[in-house]
């Protein structure tokens, strides 16, 4: 049987909240698991159980052939013995240590020469040259994040745990670093669990996504599946993006990207260069439906297609249009009647370029 990380445990914070999660993550090849959900959904609690910083009162955690936690069997492996790399949300860099000191903190059992070599390697890998002797307080947010990552991976952990790795950064830095982090995770080939509440981050970084709410895992699957085919209304509401399809950028003209999705081309705002693999993300409320053959609008994208599904939800109807890929659109009941929509009606979906979000993905 292939090695897996298996979690089945329950952790209660009396009077506040219970987290009860079951999941199985294959470890070979190493994958990045995203724990995705709103604040208070139990993602961080689950991550801390994996790190050994919270003790579940019931259940077990099995990493490959090693049992980390088995409450019934009274096995509780300390965080020290799990060989993990853990990066808390605000990095928790040691203020009394320099950048080098932080990175080599966990390496004290290695001979000095090996330790220094490893620190040099990580300084280069994370582009921290020249900052070796700086104290954390002198670093920018992005630099602190890289030091925290270097420290977490220094001991060559068998599992990497990142809690909101980018949320402490300002928006421009965040979008730049999320690409770098994805490249790094791909390069490291360490099984990783990443907590985030940001859907773009989840899509960028994740191979597998677990959507969490109220301490439970509601859906577990590939990013595209979870976003485009939410298991239920709760998941749909949490992810908030109804159409996620794979595409690649075929041209970029000063920030107006042309993206090809299953043979259809779309215009989107984005700096992604020609050839980039992307997820194309469209919110259902950002799409207009017109009867086929009607007038010209300012929207850059006009996609012809046939209605394949209509799901009434209160005063709204979620319509799926097959325009080369399934596109979800939300309209009012009144609009549906005016357009006289039926299954197989021919429609044109209009989407402004600014409403087509591109998220880089690994190929």
């Amino acid at each position: 049987m292939a090695a897996t990380l298996t979690v089945d445990c329950r952790k209660t914070f009396p009077g506040r909240f219970t987290a009860a999660a079951q999941l199985t993550l294959p470890l070979d090849p190493p994958r990045v698991l995203i724990l995705f959900g709103p604040s208070g959904s139990g993602k961080t609690t689950l991550l801390r159980c994996l790190a050994g910083l919270e003790w579940p009162e019931e259940g077990r955690i099995q990493f490959g052939s090693t049992t980390w936690v088995n409450v019934g069997g009274n096995i509780r492996l300390s965080p020290q013995t799990r060989r993990i790399g853990y990066m808390p949300q605000d990095y928790a860099l040691f203020p009394t240590h320099t950048v080098s000191g932080n990175i080599e903190y966990g390496l004290s059992d290695l001979p000095t020469a090996v330790r220094q070599e490893r620190v040099r390697e990580l300084i280069t890998l994370l582009q921290l040259q020249g900052l070796e002797e700086a104290k954390p307080a002198q670093l920018s947010g992005g630099q602190q994040q890289r030091v925290a990552l270097a420290r977490a991976i220094a001991r060559r952990p068998q599992l990497l745990l990142l809690d909101e790795p980018l949320s402490a950064l300002d928006a421009p830095t965040r979008s730049r670093l999320s690409g770098e982090l994805r490249a790094l995770l791909t390069q490291l080939q360490i099984p990783s669990v990443v907590v985030t509440h940001d859907w773009a981050e989840a899509l960028t970084l994740g191979d597998v996504i677990a959507v969490m709410q109220g301490g439970r895992i509601l859906q577990f699957g590939s990013p595209q599946d979870v976003f485009s085919k939410p298991a239920n209304a709760e998941v749909a509401q949490i992810v908030g993006i109804e159409t996620v399809v794979q595409g690649h950028v075929v041209a970029n003209d000063n920030g107006l990207a042309t993206v090809s999705v299953s043979g259809i081309t779309l215009k989107a705002l984005g700096t992604d260069v020609k050839g980039s693999a992307v997820y194309v993300c469209i919110r259902a409320e950002d799409v207009l439906l017109e009867q086929a053959g009607s007038g010209v609008t300012s929207a850059r994208n006009h996609l012809s297609g046939l209605v394949t599904e209509m799901l009434p939800q209160g005063v709204l109807v979620t319509v799926t249009v097959d325009c080369g890929f399934p596109l979800r659109v939300v309209i009012t009941r009144g609009a549906r009647e005016e357009l006289d929509l039926k299954i197989d009606s021919a429609v044109v979906a209009a989407i402004k370029a600014g409403a087509v979000h591109l998220v880089p993905r690994s190929v």
């Binding site: 910083l53 965080p79 790399g85 808390p88 040691f94 903190y105």
Partner: protein, 224 residues
């Protein structure tokens, strides 16, 4: 000035501070990080010397280390002489008397260390013991010095406990504060004034050091 008494006093205060630095750290660590629900019982015991009259504390210590107690008997069997009215007995009493003056600043400093840093250290494979020396202690330097200095200064001026447990033996247990009392009893006000001034100067100097060095750890006055 009675230089012998001054020497005894400083020796006593230095040793007390040194011993408290060693035994106060684990006590403070436990008081800070233990999640035991009855912890407050131990906290209250440690703080007792703050409110108990020194004579009462001295009386109990005297009884506890006297020849009629198991501890006292054991000590005199091993060492060959009883513990009360010796320098060692006085040292033991001073340690107990100054315990909260060391433990409270230590614990206050430990409590200020961000727990996330400690957890980060654990996940990096560093044991709790090494995390203490590599992370918690360096981050608590000001509190450690404060505790050591305060227990030193507090021991310099102790009177009631010394009288109860140490007696008044020249070169052995006669400390400066007892010497001042003797001088006043002998109506030698000039001698008492000199020694008092010395004690005042040292105490003030020590507190200046503490306050100048750290503005974070609660010492005697709460921070505004």
């Amino acid at each position: 000035m009675n230089w012998i008494a001054i020497a005894v006093t400083f020796k006593l205060a230095l040793l007390t501070a040194a011993v408290l630095l060693v035994i106060g750290l684990p006590i403070a660590y436990w008081l800070t990080f233990s999640k035991w629900r009855w912890k407050f019982i131990v906290e209250s015991v440690v703080a007792l010397p703050l409110v108990l009259p020194p004579t009462v504390l001295g009386f109990y210590i005297l009884v506890a280390i006297g020849p009629h107690s198991p501890v006292g008997r054991f000590y005199s069997d091993v060492v060959g002489h009883p513990l009360p009215f010796t320098f060692e007995g006085l040292l033991l009493a001073s340690i107990l008397y100054s315990l909260p003056f060391a433990v409270q600043p230590f614990a206050a400093a430990f409590a200020q260390v961000d727990h996330r840093l400690i957890e980060a250290s654990w996940t990096l494979g560093v044991s709790k013991f090494n995390t203490f020396f590599r992370l918690i202690a360096p981050l608590s330097t000001a509190g450690l010095i404060t505790g050591a200095v305060l227990s030193f200064a507090h021991t310099l001026g102790e009177f009631g406990v010394v009288l109860m447990v140490g007696g008044n033996i020249e070169g052995e247990t006669r400390t400066v504060s007892i010497d001042i009392y003797d001088e006043v009893q002998a109506l030698n006000y000039a001698g008492a004034a000199k020694t008092s001034l010395l004690l005042l100067a040292v105490s003030y100097g020590v507190l200046l050091l503490v306050y100048a060095m750290n503005r974070k750890v609660w010492v005697v006055w709460p921070q505004r």
